[in-house]
């Protein structure tokens, strides 16, 4: 079926990105323009289109498939995008970033993410990966005068290109086996090669693809870039990439490994188990030692990548649905927490040190309360979304007999609670040092945070309906 339908959400986002660029081009110097509005329209449109496409299983050009799995990730990405747009409106000018470029690049990145989750051809996945990566590299270094930002962007770019090369090499091996880069063809070829000869080629392909994905989701030992990139990037970009890139990369990861490469489970599950365990442990243990909130949340995001990998390692239907649900809960909470950091920062005073949060409760009780909820959700406390997400991931692991991984997971989540609580201790139990200038939040930003907090509680208390959608979403990727 050769229709455009499956690409509609992606196209809408691309159009809005172009609109943002044009708006910047015709903007007179000094004129204020609500460029974020274009993004909002585009993202709401993409979300609506995704809802209409639900259950349609549309395929475009044979390589883009809008199955429920891709659409679920689309919705997550739209939520991430919308929250980012609203927060950005407050902070972009204040942080000295060029608004037009910023919004256009963010939207292009989102379109790449959507494509990555929907692609059913390794080359298209690679293409999408590059679209989103290039945009995010530039976003990381968008504050050109900022040395840390430039360094972060350069590191991210260099290591990222390296991993892209690995990924491409893996595609080449897969092509050698199957004579095609289509996922379904590769899947059949691998399934038959499993039965016949002991060729090392499939192993190379799997290994190299795993390296490429591990880099993008920042799994140990391919996580090195994460803390530096997250710290150096403008906070709002950190918020965006820590959630968006992860959602897209895990979408493709699940699609490639749990359907195409599923016949080789015996080979890659042990390797990924080790990576998952190392990722969970390193992320939470090293996170304890950080005094910069962005670095701390970078390590926290590494730990969360470990939990998500657990869902892939479980390699059962519960695991796949758990990854989807977890991505949603993580996105809402992490975006909320980093969003608050971004909203409180200014160009002179980034407000990203732990001690900057001292006494936040006294001057901004509501903001401190919201931050607490997001952190508790990241730490996996009931009755927030994070608890249900962790519950789902760990039950998937236990159902597959990975008791040890589940135990490592829960223990490392206790360790991570320690550093989430460090922020809470700062906010509530430490006196305010003088009066640091904290900017006032705009109404839309407060509303977006309110939405995130409601979503966090909704997914924590009444997750049943969303869980159903997550379960429906994974029906199609076999």
């Amino acid at each position: 079926m050769n229709s455009f339908a499956a690409t509609i959400p992606i196209l809408i986002v691309v159009l809005s990105a172009i609109a943002a660029m044009l708006a910047e081009a015709i903007r007179r110097p000094g004129e204020r323009m609500y460029i974020a509005g274009f993004g909002l329209i585009g993202l709401v449109g993409a979300a609506t289109a995704s809802c209409f496409l639900w259950d349609s299983d549309a395929v475009s050009f044979g390589v883009v498939r809008a199955d429920n799995f891709a659409l679920f990730i689309n919705i997550i990405l739209c939520i991430i995008g919308i929250l980012t747009m609203v927060f950005s409106h407050d902070v972009v000018e204040r942080d000295g970033m060029p608004a037009g470029e910023y919004f256009a690049l963010t939207l292009f990145a989102i379109s790449g993410m959507m494509l990555m989750a929907a692609a059913t051809d390794l080359l298209v996945i690679f293409l999408a990966l590059e679209v989103l990566s290039l945009a995010v590299y530039v976003l990381t270094g968008l504050r050109r005068s900022n040395a840390a930002g430039a360094e972060a962007a350069f590191k991210y770019f260099l290591l990222g290109s390296f991993s892209s090369a690995f990924f491409l090499y893996g595609i080449a091996f897969a092509f050698t086996i199957a004579g095609s880069t289509r996922l379904d063809v590769i899947g059949t070829a691998i399934a038959s090669s499993q039965n016949s000869a002991n060729s090392p080629l499939p192993l190379f392909a799997v290994g190299l693809l795993a390296v490429g994905f591990s880099f993008k989701v920042s799994a140990v030992p391919f996580h090195m870039w994460t803390p530096d990139a997250y710290e150096g990037a403008p906070t709002i970009v950190t918020a965006f990439m820590s959630t968006g890139v992860k959602a897209a990369a895990f979408g493709a990861f699940v699609r490639v490994f749990l359907s195409t490469l599923e016949p080789m489970q015996g080979q890659w599950v042990p390797a990924l188990s080790v990576i998952a365990a190392a990722t969970m442990i390193l992320g939470s243990v090293v996170g304890v030692m950080q005094n910069n909130i962005k670095r701390m949340l970078a390590y926290s995001s590494i730990a969360h990548a470990g939990y998500l990998l657990l869902g892939i390692v479980a390699a059962n239907s519960a695991g796949k649905a758990a990854v989807l649900f977890y991505l949603l809960t993580y996105a809402v909470a992490n975006l909320g927490a980093l969003g608050i950091v971004a909203l409180l920062g200014t160009a002179e005073h980034p407000h990203d040190q732990l001690r900057d949060f001292a006494g936040l409760w006294q001057s901004r009780p509501a903001l401190a309360g919201l931050m607490t909820v997001f952190l508790l959700s990241l730490g996996g406390f009931p009755p927030t979304a994070g608890f249900i997400g962790k519950w789902y991931i760990f039950s998937a692991a236990v159902q597959d007999g990975h008791y040890w991984l589940a135990v490592i997971g829960v223990l490392s989540s206790v360790v991570s609670v320690f550093f989430y609580l460090r922020i809470v201790v700062m906010m509530y139990m430490t006196e305010e040092p003088g009066a640091p200038a904290r900017p006032v939040l705009s109404m839309p930003a407060m509303a977006a945070l309110g939405f995130a907090v409601i979503a966090t509680f909704y997914l924590g208390v009444l997750p049943s309906r969303v869980l159903d959608y997550a379960l429906q979403s994974i029906q199609t990727i076999f």
Binding site: P365, F394, S395, V398, V410, V425, S464
Partner: protein, 522 residues
């Protein structure tokens, strides 16, 4: 379907939100009085509701009553299930009883953001009540974990000097245990699903799940660890003195009065009946730790210079008795254990209130700072004396009944445990009376103690119910023991039904032996 239990559980939470609204924006000292009164009224209404539950409770029925069951997460077989039986009934009433006292106890000492303080205390009450009524393991775990957050804030914001250290230690320590229980809960439900076909977290479905011996062993240990840390049993007790000493009085009252009982309740409701073979196998070891804890807690309490720390260690000792009673799996032991949970809640809650009253007056809790205050504050000392006597299990007071039953059960089970545990009774008299004597009798050595005020009306309002309960529970134990008995017998049946482990027939051999002796109490 009755909604009485849901009402009881969520009433304090609704009140907490109301308090938050009534308190206005930020810290408003002008609304302090309103907020306090509102919170107190809410907690009293909740107490009345728990009394209503007791009144409507059918004492002859061993099963869960007032059962509520609603589908919640059908994908996992998780339901919103509540129920109350003779064991949990009085713990609910105890929670309702202690929360108003805790609010009253902080009337003078807490002035920083009273709104938030009352909010956390009421939210805590909701979570604790939820722990006692949840009969779905998932729901239970949610309440179990939710308890930690308000307590963390209560200690961390309104505590004393080292409050942050104590709060973080408290939350991490308890989480390590409980999160392993989470894995065990998932595993247990999954085994049940493999056997029964449908997933379920309903406690009644999960009772009697057949497990292989290694699995049963590990699951039991995970559950037991969570509960024993909470109790806290020696050697997992180190978080308790810190948390108690640093917590504000209200926090200590709730912590000692109710939260520690969540651990012993969990053993009795979940760990033992869910994994009977493992329970019988490990009971002697746990009992041994309990006896060590009884003696150790008493000895350490004896040398404490700080009254609050002394009472905290006395809790370790007293809770050792409860665990010992439960480990015997005899009617006497279990009834005594449950009864002692209630006694300890009332008397230790009372002790913390008394220490709080002294500390409100003098801003110190060191025993050496006092001495001879009987002449200055006779009423306070009279109340102090009665609660102290209750705590050391004087005949006629509540503690006596509980400890006597436990020792009776322990003696039938294994005499040596009883002999060593009995020394704890004597030691408790030593450290409590010695402390009492140093604080209240003798000459007044510190002249700051000359101008202390005696009990105020508010303090009378706290002391009268506490002392009355200590005496009432000492002279009329039947009122409490009778409704408890059918459920206790049912629980013993569950623990004593030794099942053949599917995978390894050799392993449960020691379990059967202990099981038979354990049945001797019937």
């Amino acid at each position: 379907m009755s909604v009485l239990l849901s009402t009881i559980v969520f009433l304090p939470l609704a009140g907490a939100l109301l308090v938050l609204l009534a308190g206005g924006r930020g810290d408003r000292p002008d609304r302090e009085g309103t907020v306090r009164m509102l919170a107190l009224v809410v907690s009293l209404v909740a107490f009345a509701a728990t009394l209503f539950l007791w009144w409507r409770f059918n004492p002859g029925d061993p099963d869960f009553q007032f059962v509520e069951s609603r589908t919640w997460l059908p994908q996992f077989g998780i339901s919103y299930r509540l129920g109350v039986d003779g064991i949990s009934l009085f713990l609910i009433v105890l929670t309702g009883f202690l929360t108003p006292l805790a609010l009253l106890s902080s009337w003078q000492s807490v002035h920083k953001n009273v709104k938030l303080f009352s909010f956390f205390l009421l939210a805590l009450e909701s979570a604790m009540l939820g722990v006692f009524v949840a009969t779905d393991l998932f729901l239970f775990y949610i309440f179990w974990d939710a308890v930690l957050i308000p307590m963390y804030f209560l200690i961390g914001i309104w505590g004393y000097e080292r409050r942050i250290y104590a709060a973080v230690k408290f939350i991490l320590y308890t989480m390590v245990g409980s999160i392993l229980m989470l894995v065990a809960i998932i595993g247990l439900a999954y085994v049940h699903q493999s056997a029964a076909g449908t997933p379920s977290f309903n406690l009644l479905d999960l009772y009697g799940t057949t497990l292989s011996w290694p699995m049963e062993k590990w699951f039991f240990l995970a559950f037991a660890l969570a509960f024993l840390i909470k109790v806290p049993l020696f050697p997992f007790h180190t978080w308790l003195p810190d948390a108690h000493v640093e917590a504000p009085t209200a926090g200590s009252v709730i912590l000692a009065g109710v939260m520690l009982k969540m651990g012993t309740y969990g053993l009795l409701r979940f760990a033992f009946p869910l994994f009977p073979n493992a329970a019988h196998y490990y009971a002697p070891y746990i009992a041994a730790l309990a006896v060590i804890g009884i003696v150790y807690g008493a000895l350490v309490a004896m040398v404490q210079p700080d009254m609050k720390k002394l009472v905290a260690y006395s809790s370790v000792s007293h809770l050792g008795f409860v665990v010992l009673g439960l480990c015997t799996v005899t009617v006497y032991g279990l009834q005594g254990g449950v009864y002692q949970m209630l006694n300890h809640g009332v008397s230790t809650g009372g002790l913390f209130i008394v220490v709080g009253m002294l500390s409100d007056r003098r801003h110190t809790r060191l025993i050496a700072e006092y001495g001879g205050i009987k002449a200055v504050v006779p009423q306070l000392v009279a109340a102090f004396l009665l609660i102290t006597l209750a705590s050391i299990a004087l005949p006629g007071m509540n503690g006596f009944i509980g400890e006597f039953l436990i020792l009776l059960g322990a003696f039938k089970w294994s005499a040596w445990f009883a002999v060593f545990a009995a020394t704890g009774v004597i030691l408790s008299a030593v450290y409590m009376l010695w402390m009492f004597q140093r604080v209240n009798y003798g000459e007044i050595t510190n002249e700051k103690n000359l101008r202390l005020a005696d009990l105020s009306g508010r303090e009378w309002a706290m002391m009268i119910p506490t002392v009355a309960m200590c005496i009432f529970m000492g002279v009329a134990p039947g009122v409490f023991l009778k409704p408890m008995e059918p459920s206790v017998l049912r629980t013993i049946d569950r623990i004593n039904q030794v099942r053949l482990a599917a995978a390894s027939p050799a392993a449960p051999a020691p379990a059967v032996k202990v099981g038979l002796t354990g049945g001797g109490g019937r």
